[in-house]
């Protein structure tokens, strides 16, 4: 079905729903690369005006990728909770936006709705929202998950300690872990991106973090971010797997380009659950996403990259993850050209994922071939901190020496916690105080004894 809007004597026609969504999306380089972006400012706003009048139930009837062709579409349609949808079922996209921002819509209501909202509805409404509104609405969402600690409580900000090393050298990785722990980092997960994802190497790294964690009884979880098939193999061989990691995307063929399918993820989910290693909860999956991945795999079906991204959240939602984050600026300038586009995309991703009920964090990051710098990242973490973002990364000095990009530092997390009064996960916070690393106000304590103790532990 075609959608139309006239400005004066000029009528803009959008041939189908995905074209309307694409033209209504704030400009980014990836949509231009895909040839789906609006070509004039007025066409963009005309699409937003036309989109505002589309009823939400249209998204249940008009699949962007045909149901028969795509298992992500089937997942979205088949798992839609009609009862949860009922209170918003009569809204248009524009009315849904106004309602989300109204005082009638609070944390409890949003929680009850999550399974009634499809990714495409979330994407559509986000396209009618300014940055400020994405922040305000995301702030109302609360998503709690747990494994060895509680992630996502209001007033808390967790961090993934990311101690990567270009050759996976155990001493080098340990050095970054100790530095990070002393800065209060690592309550979301201690997660290594391995330089080589051979099973032997992955296992060695997993055992290293696990020994360290057990020795100091740190209430957190570990992960080596390798392909899901490697993790499955290691689970079979009784390696200490806390969380199964996988990068996911929003279409079946994009997922195929990652070497995964829903059934493979289900197999990994069940295998990880069966290990029963969580002490206070059993959210065992960790997913990463990012706008542009479907286009990069030539598997986007003419859908704009932000809408594709939200469809990945349906995949994530199926497996009750402990953590999800978009690696927003990692993909490069052909998808998100500069700081402005990266900031906008991160706020969209955070809002849409939270609305759909996911524990969304953000890898606030950029590459050296993008038009962005630390000032843009400072702006973005501050906005995300205000939004109630679940976690950010902790990379020594914000410089990942293995993946060759800039993320956020241990200092950045302390800045956010202090300026916005945010605290780590409660179990982890108690551990930091008990170890003499931080006081109850979150101030870092210079304590040579703690350092010596930790160093002794990791040497073993």
């Amino acid at each position: 079905m075609a959608y139309k809007y006239s400005i004066g004597h000029l009528t803009y026609t959008f041939n189908d729903l995905k074209t309307l969504l694409a033209r209504a999306t704030p400009f980014r380089s990836g949509d231009a690369l895909a040839g789906v972006a609006a070509t004039t400012y007025q066409e963009h706003v005309a699409a937003q005006i036309a989109l505002a009048d589309v009823h939400l139930d249209v998204f249940l009837r008009e699949a962007l990728v045909p149901y028969e062709q795509d298992e992500v579409t089937r997942l979205i349609i088949d798992s839609h909770d009609a009862a949860a949808f009922k209170p918003i079922g009569h809204f248009t996209v524009g009315q849904f936006r106004d309602w989300l921002l109204s005082d009638a819509c609070d944390t409890a209501v949003l929680k009850s709705l999550a399974n009634g909202i499809t990714p495409e509805m979330a994407a559509a409404v986000s396209k009618l929202m300014r940055n400020q509104e994405l922040i305000a609405a995301a702030k109302k969402c609360e998503v709690l998950t747990s494994f060895r600690n509680t992630i996502g409580l209001s007033g808390r900000l967790s961090t993934r300690l990311q101690p990567n090393h270009p050759t996976d050298d155990p001493a080098g990785i340990s050095a970054s872990i100790i530095d990070g722990i002393l800065y209060g980092s690592g309550d979301a997960v201690i997660g290594i991106n391995p330089a080589g994802d051979s099973p032997a190497n992955t296992r060695r790294l997993l055992e290293m973090i696990d020994n360290f964690r057990r020795q100091f009884a740190i209430p957190t979880q570990s992960c080596v971010l390798c392909h899901v098939t490697t993790t499955l193999d290691l689970i079979e061989k009784h390696a200490p797997v806390d969380l199964t990691f996988q990068s996911i995307a929003g279409t079946q063929s994009a997922n195929a380009s990652f070497g995964i399918s829903l059934s493979l993820l289900e197999e990994a989910y069940q295998a990880t659950l069966s290990l029963n290693r969580g002490t206070i909860g059993n959210n065992v999956m960790y997913f990463e996403t990012g706008q542009g991945s479907a286009l990069s795999a030539n598997a986007h079906y003419g859908i704009d990259q932000q809408t594709c991204e939200t469809r990945a959240y349906a995949v994530a939602r199926k497996f009750n993850p402990l953590l999800v984050n978009s690696v927003v600026g990692f993909i490069g300038p052909e998808y998100l050209y500069n700081g402005k586009q990266i900031i906008r995309a991160a706020l969209e991703d955070h809002f849409c994922a939270k609305l759909l009920g996911l524990p969304m964090g953000m890898d606030v990051c950029y590459t050296n071939h993008a038009e962005a710098d630390q000032d843009d990242m400072d702006t973005l973490i501050t906005l995300l901190g205000v939004s109630g973002c679940t976690f950010i990364m902790g990379v020594p000095g914000a410089d990942d020496v293995m993946l060759n990009y800039q993320s956020t530092s241990f200092h950045d997390a302390l800045y956010l916690r202090r300026t916005l009064g945010l605290r780590p996960a409660p179990e982890f916070e108690a551990w930091l105080v008990q170890q003499g690393i931080m006081d109850r106000q979150g101030n870092q304590l210079p304590d040579a004894g703690t350092y010596t103790r930790l160093l002794g532990g990791i040497g073993q």
Partner: protein, 256 residues
């Protein structure tokens, strides 16, 4: 307290982890003033970012590469992608994956219709990485692969090229496997890092799950010797098992 630390401002809190700096190039033990990074470390970061930005806009030294590849004893061809310049290259990855018309004609005129391995040196996002590290690695690999009995296509130098540039070019050469050495996204502490991608039966339209990658090839990361060993292993196994990508894992060093 070291002499340098004595000279620091009294408000700066030093970290106890300074002794760990010997184990990693990661920016640990930066110290702090309040929650911020002290000015020396903050400026060192900015300088590194500037070097990385400059690496993105560096160029392949084609003449020097020709000279340094001579000892490998293989013909050398110089190709270009359809991306006209760096700005277009950064925003149009589709153009960087395709050889331009002149390049296609050159490869066709060369008249190689089958080889086991074709090796491509591409600028990617850091020409400097390829200028510095590729010739030595290529000479080592050519030696090893030839000794192992594999036939090699011409060596190809490719400008404004992406990883998938190896697909159409490998296909034109009838290669059983393509190996592309390419400048990686420059990092702050490694603006000259090179990656190697291995693809069995290269052809247009392949996606990343069909490739194996050996990354971080630079003096402070994976050395030329280590990289040659890993790559030679993957090439041998890929051709023996007729597969590449996630189905081909590096299983060296895995205990049963």
């Amino acid at each position: 307290m070291s002499g340098e630390e004595k000279n620091r401002h009294p408000y700066i809190v030093s970290d106890h982890t300074a002794a760990l700096k010997q184990f990693t190039r990661a920016r640990i033990a930066l110290g702090r003033t309040g929650t911020s990074v002290p000015h020396k470390e903050a400026l060192a970061f900015k300088l590194a970012h500037a070097a990385a930005r400059d690496a993105v806009f560096s160029m392949l030294d084609v003449n020097a590469l020709h000279d340094e590849l001579k000892p490998a004893g293989l013909p050398v061809m110089h190709l270009k992608s359809k991306a006209a310049d760096r700005d277009q290259y950064l925003q149009r990855p589709d153009l960087g994956r395709e050889p331009d018309e002149r390049s296609v004609a050159l490869v066709k005129a060369y008249g190689c219709d089958s080889c086991d391995v074709c090796i491509i040196l591409a600028d990617g996002l850091s020409s400097e990485a390829v200028n510095r590290h590729a010739p030595a690695l290529v000479r080592l690999l050519v030696n090893r692969l030839a000794q192992a009995g594999f036939t090699l296509g011409p060596l190809i130098i490719a400008e404004q090229a992406r990883v998938a540039f190896a697909d159409p070019v490998g296909q034109l050469l009838g290669a059983g496997l393509s190996l592309i050495l390419i400048g990686e996204r420059p990092g702050l502490s490694s603006p000259q890092s090179m990656g190697a991608y291995i693809t069995y039966r290269p052809m247009r339209g392949l996606t990343d799950e069909g490739r194996n990658c050996v990354s971080n090839i630079h003096p402070a990361g994976l050395s030329i010797g280590q990289a040659a060993e890993k790559i030679a292993y993957l090439v041998r196994e890929s051709l023996r098992r007729k597969v590449s990508g996630i189905a081909l894992k590096d299983e060296t060093g895995l205990l049963p």
